[in-house]
Symmetry: C2
Subunit: 420 residues, 2 copies
């Protein structure tokens, strides 16, 4: 395929993508396939000679689409949102074309530098303390990771490295292994200090945890994977109070800030803590401006999205989703058969039928089977709870109303059954 054919096929693909997203709500949100469905639909080996491109596209419809859970359907209310937007898709095309691997400044200066500045932009949107902003203070700064788990792992390694050095500074006779065997990480069931847990979007009190960590010289990491995006709105920013005690902080714009996966943003108070933990300099990577990490040009997505929406556009988007969650909450509260199981703060509503776990499991089973809307459950204090998360960019009031009609219809049917 040469540039000329790519031009033609690329334009067809743009059209395919636009059609897919424009008409996505007409597809069943959850696929009707059994595990192993795909293997029998395609050959067992790669072709020796090239296939026809048109056949590949036909196979996307025949093989792939029937097995896709449509995360961007306005009837998708499962897990947490996976962000997407047209500006991010455009930026991703450019990112693919440049195709640099940004593991050092020299490997692609624009990639390293735009990332630092975009993390500053975003940090300022969240009104992070100055020491997290690279362009202001100079000691801290932000970096993109793939996932919140990766950010947490990186933080853990940096914290460990820093603790070892601190102990060694005053006890040079101690071996690294000896120190390591004494280190302790304090976590709850949800791991570290969390703003917006996955199960129910609960918030830890970091203004209480923070001073203890600082006093005891404990590295404090705060994970706000989902909820972090909302802190760009002044009315939600108080939930981030206490951030000034943190050594590091991360959240996922790829969840709720219209930037495609992967884009998990992380800030550290002292860049040197991160760089120190990962320093490794074979000559083929050596450069006076080396930093670590292997990455695509992911900051392009941030740049396109921030500029095409503007801060106000992004704020409006967050507020719309929270508003839709409140709308759903009202519908649930108005129906005496149901109860709300956790305070609705962001775009997640945890609810259940008053009654046994078995009854709620049955309701979810029927919802999943119907494939009209898609939800997943969680467990809160031993109770089986349904999670209704506002996810898609195009979800609107009518989808919420339709989803609730659907849930109550299935509830009605279940409660009619003799052995429910």
């Amino acid at each position: 395929m040469d540039a000329e054919e790519f031009r033609r096929r690329g334009m067809e693909m743009v059209d395919y993508v636009a059609n897919y997203l424009e008409n996505i709500e007409q597809r069943p949100v959850y696929p009707d396939v059994e595990p192993g469905y795909l293997r029998s639909l395609i050959p067992t080996e790669a072709p020796l000679e090239p296939d026809n491109y048109d056949d590949i596209i036909k196979d996307v419809d025949r093989v792939i689409m029937p097995g896709v859970t449509h995360w961007h359907s306005p009837y998708f209310f499962a897990y947490f949102p996976a962000a997407t937007s047209y500006p991010a898709l455009l930026a991703d095309m450019l990112c693919g074309a440049i195709g640099c691997i940004g593991f050092s400044w020299a490997a692609s200066p624009a990639c390293t530098e735009l990332e630092t500045v975009m993390l500053d932009w975003l940090g300022k949107m969240l009104n992070l303390p100055e020491h997290f902003i690279a362009g202001t203070h100079g000691h801290g700064g932000g970096v993109i990771q793939s996932t919140a788990s990766e950010a947490t792992l990186v933080t853990l390694l940096a914290a460990r490295c820093k603790a070892v050095r601190r102990v060694q500074a005053s006890n040079p006779e101690k071996s690294e292994a000896e120190i390591l065997s004494k280190l302790v990480a304090y976590t709850s069931e949800q791991f570290c200090a969390t703003l917006g847990t996955t199960a129910s979007c609960a918030f830890d009190r970091i203004t209480e945890l923070g001073p203890i960590c600082n006093k005891e010289n404990i590295w404090m990491h705060i994970d706000a994977a989902y909820a972090g995006s909302a802190f760009i709105c002044p009315e939600f920013r108080p939930l981030l109070n206490g951030i000034e005690f943190a050594d590091s902080f991360n959240f996922n714009p790829h969840k709720w800030l219209l930037i495609n996966f992967d884009c998990s943003t992380m800030w550290v108070k002292k860049r040197e803590d991160l760089i120190g933990a990962f320093k490794m300099e074979p000559l083929y990577l050596k450069h006076e401006n080396q930093e670590s990490g292997k990455k695509r040009f992911r900051s392009l997505k941030m740049w396109f999205v921030f500029r095409m929406y503007g801060i106000q556009g992004l704020q409006a988007y967050i507020r719309k989703h929270v508003g839709l969650a409140k709308e759903f909450e009202s519908l649930v509260r108005a129906d005496k058969r149901f109860e709300i199981c956790a305070e609705v703060i962001m775009g997640l509503v945890c609810f259940r039928l008053k009654g046994s776990n078995r009854l709620n499991e049955l309701l979810l089973k029927r919802i999943t089977k119907s494939r009209e809307i898609h939800l997943v459950p969680c467990q809160l204090s031993g109770r089986f709870v349904l999670r209704f998360a506002i996810c898609a960019r195009t979800t609107d009031s009518r989808h919420i109303q339709q989803a609730w009609r659907h849930i109550t219809q299935l509830t009605f049917e279940i409660l009619q059954e003799p052995n429910h």
Copy 2:
């Protein structure tokens, strides 16, 4: 931006990408910017209201492109290749549109299933032992990771988990901490058993290491990050002999198999070893067919590339690159001022001027400064060596000849200087 505007902007972007790649060799391969160049070119904060899209594209040319190291220029010979191809770019557009997060089967069945089958296709292309092929044997199989480092980390955790369980099975009184403190990982300077090291593309003798690992019950992991792609050619496959002793194996199609970053493929002999190490089942992820890992729909890229090139097309691509390396090797060998520093097996030529490290450092400095070609060095037995890696998809004989003319011209100039 609605679907209609995306159609228009998407087609413009396809055109931009095609133009960029078609004319890439006219750009200096290495950028002429100083660290920090970008910050002053853009605002210090995100705009409150949306910017104009045309301004963003103008800024790509004004702000981004001057700071890009052009990895896909045919004059880029640094590091190792970063794969790209038009079919992969098209697949990536589709991947972005579907935008699923495949952390379990239910989260997107097509994503999980195509990945397993594509890893089988690729495993068969490499003629991997049957126990690595999911569709044949049933106990082993492949999975996509982001990088070889990630694959190695995952393997290390799986191996550790397995070792702990084995010891605990016969010593139930031992605590996990006690066992962990006794575990040993054997590595060389390059970490694990490696086929094609980064510095010089050297090969470990796995037919010697393998039986020792098997006999001593040591998990054997083999990393063939760069060279692995070449094993689809029968003439290079003998370098993989001994793979039957390995518990796990990985290489990066995103380096040399025309599939965009990220796509690091990894196979394990026993899937349960991986799944067991990462099992963690909160209710919101629970599903009878759960596996682990958070991922984009990366297997689409593999599917498009394998089908659009066919196995023969991919083999021809590898052979072309190796041929170009041999061509460069001949040019170096024909010039008595130079020496070849490591056997040229794949697409990498390690060479240097006979003389001091200082002289070679000076030569590389001039090469980098000229920005006509881009190379990085390595250190072999204390000697400063230049690495010439065939990288871009469009690199051809004329680029090799031109690169050599350029190197010898700079050499001539240096050797003329009184204090060289």
